[in-house]
């Protein structure tokens, strides 16, 4: 029988200080028995002699020093795992909330995970076709990658993420695929949108959902990505499934982290976020990957909203330093009615070079990608000059580039929400647009491919 403490001393924000404890360890989980018989959970953030600082997942409202009984469980936060978790829905503490029976676990796993030995990692090279040209051609996603969507309030990131989850496939068949979906502090409507999307395509039966809505306790959000990734690791590395993890919205997660940091009176770094935000985020994002000799993979697609559309805000900034690229959504494009409004120039996939080319996509892929980028960048800057000085100030070639970039936005970037463009078709479309430019302008493509693919060649 574990000891119960009645010695809650201070309560500050989401934290409480328990005194006169013995044998309590760092990161241990505590159960808090409320006077009305309900149970809350907490985790030890710091132990100092006989004092334990506990963060309460469900929040501290209604807690009174002296009235709550605290029991330390002698273990860290764990999740029960079994193949039956597929198709189920859990809350931010890992309890089922879909009305079904509880999952009977085969085993428990610590949610913090253990870093993959770099020596054991397998480099991601398998091309994932999402059917979205701005991703497939320009920012190629590969299995085991972590590629976030940088979005902002009012932009259609849920639609894009759902379309990717619906269309993503590897040019091989017969593999087990599942989605792990972690919602942190999003609205009911947004979560409901994803549910309906998954349901429509039958993905719900092969999805594991962890839901913490905007009105759920914010501190619970801290555990959600860790629970989700522990489930994903189990499915990928033990059951050999290919997992796409969607984490939305990471901004809410970081804000919960900041709340705890502020309550602990830690020295803040940028914008009040704790100095360890980078380390904390990397413990989440680095759990994507593949392991040599194991069948499965974890591909991560975190979604975050940039406050004030600002890419240099600490959350997108630190995320970009950890993830292998980013898909940036653009408000001006969205306002022009272009879906998906992917801002091509600052978007990037770092692993594209290993996932593209002959045998994976097509031999001319790299050249087409670089040329489209360069041409679009030139068209855009020429357009800016034209805005100031008028179209007449442009050279003939620059005018061609302006036309090119306009068509590129309307025909290449834009596509229907239900449109699943095959990679070959997308590359051909790229060539049709590049055909607007004289051959001599195509400096980023090998001559042999220009001969082969240039329209009319």
């Amino acid at each position: 029988m574990r000891k119960e403490y009645l010695t809650v001393e201070n309560i500050v924000g989401p934290l409480m200080l328990v005194e006169d404890v013995r044998g309590v360890a760092y990161a241990e989980i505590a159960e808090i028995l409320m006077p009305d018989g309900s149970v809350r959970h907490g985790q030890v953030l710091e132990v100092h002699e006989d004092k334990a600082l506990v963060q309460v997942f469900e929040g501290t409202s209604g807690l009174t020093p002296g009235a709550a009984r605290v029991k330390f469980l002698g273990k860290g936060l764990q999740i029960g795992l079994s193949p039956d978790i597929v198709g189920r829905m859990f809350d931010g503490f890992g309890r089922t909330i879909d009305g079904g029976p509880p999952v009977i676990p085969e085993r428990y796993a610590d949610v913090n995970g253990v870093p993959i030995n770099p020596e054991a990692r397998d480099y991601p090279t398998e091309f994932i076709q999402t059917g979205i040209s701005t991703i497939d051609v320009l920012n190629t996603l590969v299995r085991g990658q972590k590629l976030p969507i940088f979005s902002a309030a009012g932009l259609p990131h849920p639609r894009l993420a759902a379309q990717i989850a619906r269309q993503a496939r590897v040019l091989k068949t017969g593999e087990q695929f599942a989605v792990v979906f972690a919602a942190m502090g999003i609205t009911f409507e947004e979560s409901d949108f994803f549910m309906r999307e998954f349901e429509k395509t039958g993905a719900l039966e092969r999805a594991v959902l962890f839901i913490n809505l905007a009105n759920d306790p914010p501190i619970e959000r801290i555990a959600v990505p860790k629970l989700a990734l522990t489930a994903a690791e189990y499915l990928a590395y033990e059951l050999g499934m290919h997992i796409l993890v969607i984490l939305t919205d990471m901004t809410n997660y970081c804000e919960a982290l900041r709340e705890i940091s502020a309550a602990r009176k830690e020295v803040p770094s940028r914008r009040g976020y704790p100095g360890y935000l980078y380390t904390d985020l990397s413990m989440i994002y680095e759990r994507a990957g593949r392991i040599k000799g194991r069948g499965g993979s974890i591909t991560q697609m975190p979604i975050l909203s940039m406050p004030e559309d600002d890419k240099t805000h600490p959350i997108p900034d630190l995320t970009g330093y950890i993830t292998e690229g980013q898909i940036l959504l653009s408000r001006p494009l969205f306002n022009e009615g272009i879906y998906p409004p992917v801002d091509v120039l600052p978007s990037l996939s770092r692993l594209k070079d290993r996932g593209t080319g002959e045998g994976k996509t097509r031999e001319d892929h790299a050249g087409v990608m670089n040329q489209l980028y360069a041409a679009y960048a030139r068209g855009r800057s020429a357009k800016e000059i034209a805005v100031v000085l008028g179209e007449s100030a442009l050279s003939e070639t620059d005018r061609l580039y302006v036309q090119f970039s306009g068509r590129f936005e309307r025909e290449f970037i834009a596509q229907g929400e239900g449109e699943n463009r095959e990679i070959a078709a997308a590359l051909d479309l790229g060539w049709r647009l590049l055909g607007m430019l004289p051959k001599g302008e195509l400096k980023r493509i090998k001559e042999a491919y220009i001969e082969k693919y240039y329209p009319g060649a």
Binding site: R121, S282, Y373
Partner: protein, 592 residues
């Protein structure tokens, strides 16, 4: 390590920081074993009887009352044959052997000797019995890899007469020689230990002069680094820091590379592990891994070990420098290292400096970079070694005014500023030619003027002048439009564009373009500048600019960087063709 009796007790645990009491005479920076699991930690603060310890592994499950025991030694690394081609974590645990013993994940408490204790190495003596030797003298050699000869040195502080020495196969802990010193006979093993926070001594330091050739055109030609120099590569995410670092690790003409992945992506280290055994060193033709030591403390590995990783790396680098090699160390990224310091400092409740970084940030960074240099090594043969350090910096939001960049710029001599805009235009390496600088330019001009071509410096200066003028003209074009420019100015803009696109732009993933030798760099740039001069002359003689720009030979110039190294002479013939084509456009009376 001699275990002492003192046994402390944990009083506080807060993340990677553990406070203990009762550790008696344990010293600053001494290693201790923490908790029932015996996790390694290092003492970083002592206040009376309270010892603050940074722990190199996750501290979940550790609590007050658990034991702490000192090891009696500071954080040291193993030095000896077997380091090359290995991959270590931040405290020099060998990741390949950890994988073999503990599986695919780095679990807590995992431990294995850094250097394989069982492997035998063939030792050939270079000195004989009765020779008088002092610190740094080479006693014998071991073929560590086909490209690196491991030189077994008399450790710093030793002096005496060789009592015995013999050729044979030895494991690293077996003595290969016995030295009779003033303090008695001391056996000398291949394995030596060295505390990571103490620089290894040299006889004398020298000013660095010889260029470190990287094969990257923008670096070698415009902003060169020298053997023994220091450089930093700051840039926002996505600007290509890691690709630059990888390119340097692949192609820099150092004898040995130490690559420290400090708080960065796991997949990037995997990429190195996959590529380096396959890629051949352009000079020796052997796999690059045979001259590479890897330290990988990825961002999700414990933060305290990240703090130690750069010291672990540089100590190994110094060890090979002491043998007389030119060593280059890449640290990616020093910002993550600084952040690890900030995290520990915050947990120690120290008074913060700028942006929460500790007040000693600048001095720590300086003491790290200052371990670079060209020096005369210890030992009677007066051999020279060099250690170049190239640190990536990841400033938040790409803001170069932040403390880590600013503190770094005060100590490094070369600044390769990566630019978000260039990266957005897919101009790689996205090194901004207007803001970057190298303080080694003069030294390199002298050397390259002798070794490559006497016009090396002139070429470089002219290219820089054109690029600077381009920036000014672009301002003007933005205001008044292209039409307002003279034909000469428009030609200059075209020349600048050629320099940017046909020379500075370099594709790291193209098998030919990824590396360019100095003679080829010189030829391409001379070709472009030549074209500019001839065209300038032709315009003065009445030729039309637009006709010059339409010349098909320009396409050939733009593909000059794709000419294989063996065929560089083709570039001279191309220059002749270009000249003839341009001159052919002069109005007939003017042709020479």
């Amino acid at each position: 390590m001699n275990e002492r009796k003192a046994r402390g007790e944990i009083v506080k645990v807060s993340g990677p920081l553990v406070v203990a009491r009762g550790l008696g005479d344990t010293r600053m920076y001494e290693m201790v074993r923490v908790g029932e699991m015996g996790l390694y930690g290092e003492v970083i603060e002592i206040r009376g009887d309270r010892f603050s310890i940074q722990v190199y592994e996750e501290t979940g499950g550790i609590g007050p009352g658990q034991p702490v025991s000192p090891t009696g030694a500071p954080l040291t690394v193993d030095l000896g044959p077997g380091l090359i081609a290995s991959i270590f974590d931040g405290v020099q645990r060998p990741l390949d052997r950890l994988k073999a013993e503990y599986g695919d994940f780095v679990v807590r408490g995992a431990d294995a000797p850094s250097i394989d204790r069982g492997r035998k190495w063939h030792f050939t003596p270079r000195r004989k019995r009765g020779d008088r030797v002092a610190a740094g003298d080479i006693l014998g050699v071991i073929p560590e890899t086909p490209v690196i000869e491991h030189r077994v040195m008399v450790p710093p502080g030793w002096e005496g007469t060789i009592a015995s020495i013999a050729e044979g196969d030895y494991a690293v802990e077996e003595p290969v020689a016995v030295i009779g010193t003033a303090g008695g006979e001391r056996p000398l093993t291949l394995l030596v230990k060295w505390p990571v926070r103490t620089p290894r001594p040299v006889a004398r330091r020298l000013a660095p002069v010889e260029p470190l050739v990287t094969g990257q055109r923008v670096l070698d030609t415009l902003f060169p680094i020298v053997k023994g120099g220091t450089a930093c590569v700051p840039g926002p995410f996505g600007s290509g820091k890691t690709v630059v670092q990888h390119q340097l690790a692949k192609w820099a003409d150092a004898d040995l590379i130490v690559y420290v992945g400090c708080g960065e992506r796991g997949n990037e280290m995997t990429e190195v592990l996959i590529e380096f055994p396959e890629l051949a060193d352009p000079r020796s033709g052997r796999p690059l891994i045979e001259r590479t030591v890897l330290v990988a403390n990825t961002s999700n590995m414990p933060v305290a070990a990240r703090e130690a990783s750069v010291f672990t790396g540089i100590t190994m680098a110094e060890y090979y420098r002491d043998m007389g090699y030119s060593v280059a160390l890449m640290a990616d990224s020093t910002s993550r290292w600084a952040e690890a310091m900030r995290e520990m400092s915050g947990r120690l409740e120290e008074m913060p400096g700028e942006e929460g970084f500790p007040a000693y940030l600048a001095s720590r960074l300086a003491s790290f970079y200052e371990r670079a240099g060209r020096s005369v090594c210890l030992g009677s043969d007066g051999r020279e070694g060099s250690l170049s350090v190239i640190g990536a910096v990841s400033p938040p939001g790409g803001d170069l005014s932040e403390p880590v960049v600013q503190a770094t710029l005060r100590v490094v001599k070369v600044f390769w500023g990566l630019d978000d805009k260039l990266a957005g235009q897919r101009h790689f390496p996205a090194i901004n030619w207007l803001s970057s600088y190298s303080l080694y330019g003069d030294a390199v001009d002298r050397t390259c003027g002798e070794k490559v071509n006497r016009y090396w410096a002139k070429n470089r200066q002219e290219a820089m002048a054109i690029l600077k003028r381009e920036a000014e003209l672009e301002e003007l074009v933005r205001l008044v439009g292209m039409d307002a420019l003279s034909a000469q100015d428009r030609l200059l803009l075209e020349a600048a564009k050629m320099i940017r696109e046909d020379f500075l732009h370099q594709n790291a993933y193209d098998p030919v373009d990824t590396y360019t030798s100095l003679p080829k760099q010189f030829r391409i740039l001379r070709l472009i500048l030549g074209f500019y001069h001839w065209a300038y002359g032709a315009i003065a003689a009445g030729a039309e600019l637009d006709e010059i720009l339409r010349l098909p030979v320009r396409d050939e110039i733009s593909r000059a960087k794709g000419v294989p190294e063996e065929e560089v002479e083709a570039l001279d013939r191309l220059a002749e063709r270009a000249r003839a084509a341009v001159e052919g456009l002069k109005p007939s009376g003017e042709r020479s």
